[in-house]
Symmetry: C2
Subunit: 210 residues, 2 copies
Amino acid sequence: MSSSREPLTRARIVDAAVRLIEREGVEAVSMRRLAAELGAGTMSLYNHVPNKAVLVDLAAERIMAEARPYHVDSDDWRDHIRAHAHAVRALARQHPRAFVMLATRRLSSEAGFRTIEIGLMNLDKAGFRGKIAVGMMRAMVSYLLGTLMREVATSPELGGIALSPYEGVDMSAFPLSAEVLDELGTYDHDHEFEFGLELMIAALERYQED
Amino acid sequence: MSSSREPLTRARIVDAAVRLIEREGVEAVSMRRLAAELGAGTMSLYNHVPNKAVLVDLAAERIMAEARPYHVDSDDWRDHIRAHAHAVRALARQHPRAFVMLATRRLSSEAGFRTIEIGLMNLDKAGFRGKIAVGMMRAMVSYLLGTLMREVATSPELGGIALSPYEGVDMSAFPLSAEVLDELGTYDHDHEFEFGLELMIAALERYQED
DNA sequence: ACCCTCCTACGTACGCCGTACGTCGCAGGG
DNA sequence: CCCTGCGACGTACGGCGTACGTAGGAGGGT
């Protein structure tokens, strides 16, 4: 193992953790396994990282920091909000196995504020400021968090929240559901994301009129 | 231990699991501990439950089934949607330590369809049917899932997604955030939930006009 | 009355886990 | 030359889920 010659570093350890998380999910991460992957003794990791929880935090921050900057070629605030939402979605889709972990964890302040600031700028363009802008941003975050949880944590092997409609349920008790059973069993995540996003934007526009 | 005389039952085991989850969270659940709590041998549990994952599923379903029916005294579809959203929120707040688990798990079909059917009924009242109603319901679910994740998984000891703004970040790089720093550090979950909910309803109303 | 079957309870053991602690070897400075 | 300090590592403890084997009792058939 060539890598076993390199000295152990916090960076190398976090790297390995991120790779492992992306490949097999957080629950696959263990100190022993990580050490083995690095060709090192288990306890050597503790010279660089105080414990597993911190290590996972560091991995989460590293993934968060990967968020790509993006450029929008438009003056319409709607396009900026759309671009921002798509960027968040892209991050979630690049790291499906890490998303729940990220969503459940306290954001690192730096990356958090970068995102918040962008959100506030976009709402500012739409004419929303101060308290109300914060409320709207939070509603947007909630929507994004929710859809992406549904999209990304939905694939069966990740253990998701999807409904699996055809499991011996007596549908006669649920007439309206029965009518749209096909829709309920189908997921077009692109389309759903777009639909919900436009719904949110429509809501903002409505507030703009007052 | 008086309870150790009772015969072991699936129901008794699931009950104990639910209690433990509510008291200390899913991660505190272990077969050994559960058995000890029931005054039984660890392996005896396996006569009633195939493995821990299924046991946790059963506990999740049991909690889900606790959802209280509610009555709305109004003809306005908005009030029905509000009531439904509040019911979901109440469930989440009654089981904060279980919510992330519930949100991450495949819903039991029965309870799932009950909720879906109510959602579809409410949207039907507003004049939305078929595919578009499904889309709207999913957007609502996303919003609810998101806000409630933020609300319920936010308390520090549960390891949440809240921002904690005052941690040596150079705010001069984030002027808009700096302006509303107080807002960002404050959480009024009642108010935020209501605000986001009205935002969603406003969006639906807008679609109604077309 | 007998036995046979089946179900439940339980003990043991294996292979994982996180990590406290102690030791060893080596690099650097005096 | 030795001393100090630090990184790497082995061992060990107490936890975990669960495969497997056994023992005991309850119920039914004869």
